[in-house]
Symmetry: C2
Subunit: 433 residues, 2 copies
């Protein structure tokens, strides 16, 4: 692994737009392993295993695409109450690979569960029998290429041997690096809170890039907690939080063939189990999971291919949340708006264009528009105090915030995106080479 | 005018992707004038008048945006049976300009109608009184900037003096150049046909660029014919043809604040008036108008900002036309597909991704995909004979054709777009300077 770790302590991973991530430490009940299978020409880790040696509760949300990858099909079929691990590979999406792609996962899960079972016999007093159907898969990379089954199978033994039962910040960085594709920075986030009297940890990593139009990135997010919490409540918390976090950068989850956000709970915090989402004891936890998911989602948007600026788009006082969301994404998806932001040009007319084409209910005579704290439009007309030079100065910031106030209702939405630069084209016209 | 005309006979305007346009000549009943009002820093014509001295029948289709420019509001209010002219300016969209922008059009139309009436007194035996409400406006350019009323008013006299009652290919080129914004090429097209026994001409010009995402361009199209044909039938023909021409590049007309396609008929061909769209005598004419509109629409897509390739996307054998259209636009709008085409990379997985995210009904096991005549996917799996080297060779063409065969119905759609290059970013991050 000569990819990244040596640079860990320098500024390479510092994201000045979002802030540097806090260090992640150990989560009881979780083990991590990363190896290189040679899926890339250059030497880098490309296969990551999260292993729960006493199993874990879990919940997933998936892409809404009509064409889904073979690993998503595999995961969706799993009906086990608890799972033992998730294996993540990069470089190959295992999408449009048909039965062969699916059968590869069968073989790999069989092989991996056997290896984990033998390891348990050595390591544990009372080994548990892991079934192939208790392993999830996440894949990301090129669509339509043959899945590299053999390269992965050749490395599962090494992967299992390298399992570390204790985590420190370096292994987390390695894992976050190991799931990257065109990302330039690993994405990690953490929070701690209490459930009842017990301390619980919420750690997360994510990958995602190619974010010019949010709905085209492959985004993977993995959240880990030691909380003792049922799969059913995990699922509710995931659904509750996804809309304003990963789906605020990935447009309705109407995304790539491979998108997936998962949450795993080892239960090792030994808090008393909470039976209902509405129990006040869960309030902090729900908020903390949201915080971790939002932070990861922002990191994904901020690391959009070629991004030079992080852009927050708010739409407030809309009749419906749907309208607010449509306006936010119409602006956040507009290449004309995004290139203007890249060019540091306060060309607010393009924002108005994007509002107009969104199809949302708008009363022009009530519409206000802010760039940061600068008022541009006030009730449909150019603010008397608007000074383009001041706004041009604002556009030089790394963080740009656009706020559209419709003044016709009370619903709000916020979307996150980045600017559109020449580098995006360079990256994407040459992705596979 | 040192902008373009001198280069007319060299290759500058030859579009190797669509083919050079045929020369346009005279249309009886039409007059053209172009001047420079100094709306741009550089010297170029920026104000174009099409004048019908004995008036004309007409029909328009407009942008579906919720925020429309003041000139579209003006045009929509006009209930006159026949109109006398359309004035087109560039550089300023007259959008988000409020009452001031609208009042500018009032003043300009008043001034222009007076000047035209005085000119008629000199030129004609029986002058007709032109009302301000018999003049249409088309505007294109930056949104939200004060409309340059005075610069235009200062030049209407000159514009009227320069009116040419006879057209030749040069005046048409001047007009097509005069309505351009970031376009690199003037867009002209023509067809001739018969209605009953009479020869009629159909000439058209268009402008449009910024076409990376079709639904963000400002597209203007103006069709002129000497046919004797009612406004009502013109409207029906426009509606019939727009879907597969300008709306096949501009996504449901859900476009900029200023989009507008108009057709004008002087009646000078003196054909016997046809009363119904279904009259077989109109068949040729409808087809010829379609041909002119499609050719102009393709020129707009082909001249998309920074475009190096013209891309045709077909979706065939869909359950519904809506699905076929959604798939075509999902592909044609995908920056990942478009950058791959720019990079000449046969990365068909991105096309599959775009099909999947379109939300259209797709049966993977029936899906076939062609690039030109090269079969890539056959009933959901990679074609046994697929050879990436051959496909890479195909990607070097200037014209790329993608065909998705769903094999689950009988509806088809075709969309037109271009690739996404670094130059697009350059143009759009620096549009106003």
């Amino acid at each position: 692994m000569d990819f990244g770790i040596n640079n860990f302590f320098d500024k390479k991973y510092k994201d000045s737009k979002i802030g540097h991530f806090q260090d992640l430490e150990h989560i009881d009940g979780l083990s991590i392993s990363t190896v290189s299978c040679g899926l890339y020409d250059k030497k880098r880790d490309d296969l990551v295993l999260f292993y729960f040696r006493e199993s874990a509760n879990y919940a997933n949300v998936y892409t809404q695409s009509k064409i889904v990858s073979e690993n998503i099909k595999w995961n969706k079929k799993i009906k086990e109450k608890r799972i033992f691990g998730i294996l993540i590979n990069t470089r190959n999406a295992n999408a449009m690979t048909g039965k062969d792609g699916y059968n590869s996962l069968k073989k790999i899960s069989l092989n991996l569960s056997k290896l984990l079972n033998s390891k348990q016999i050595i390591d544990e007093d009372k080994p548990i029998e892991i079934k192939p159907s208790q392993i999830l898969f996440a894949c990301t990379g090129t669509i339509g290429e043959k899945f590299p089954e053999n390269k992965i199978l050749d490395n599962t033994k090494n992967l299992v041997e390298k399992i570390k039962y204790n985590q420190n910040k370096l292994i987390w960085i390695k894992a976050a690096l190991g799931i990257m594709t065109t990302d330039t920075k690993p994405k990690l986030s953490m929070a701690e809170c209490k459930i009842g009297g017990s301390d619980v940890k919420i750690y997360g990593i994510a990958k995602g890039s190619g974010m010019i139009f949010p709905n085209m990135a492959t985004t993977l997010g993995f959240i880990f907690t030691d909380a003792n919490i049922s799969s059913s409540i995990l699922k509710q918390i995931l659904n509750l939080n996804i809309k304003t976090t990963f789906n605020a950068i990935t447009c309705d989850g109407d995304t790539s063939t491979n998108d997936m956000v998962s949450i795993f709970a080892t239960g090792k915090a030994n808090n008393k189990e909470v039976k209902s989402l509405k129990d006040p004891k869960l309030k902090q936890f729900i908020k903390s999971v949201h915080q971790v998911m939002l932070n990861l989602a922002k990191r994904v948007a901020s690391d959009g291919e070629g991004a030079t600026k992080f852009v927050t788009v708010n739409c407030i006082n809309s009749k419906t949340e749907r309208d607010a969301k449509n306006i936010c994404f119409s602006i956040a998806n507009s290449p004309l708006v995004k290139t203007a932001i890249f060019g540091q040009d306060p060309n607010w007319g393009r924002i108005a264009m994007a509002i107009g084409k969104s199809g949302a209910s708008v009363k022009l005579e009530k519409l206000s528009l802010h760039m940061g704290s600068i008022s541009i439009l006030n009730k449909g007309i150019l603010d008397k105090n608007y000074n383009e030079d001041i706004c041009s100065e604002y556009m030089k910031n790394e963080n740009i915030e656009i706020t559209v106030d419709l003044s016709i209702g009370s619903k709000n939405f916020t979307a996150y995106t980045m600017d559109l630069s020449k580098e995006y084209i360079e990256i994407n016209s040459d992705y596979r080479s």
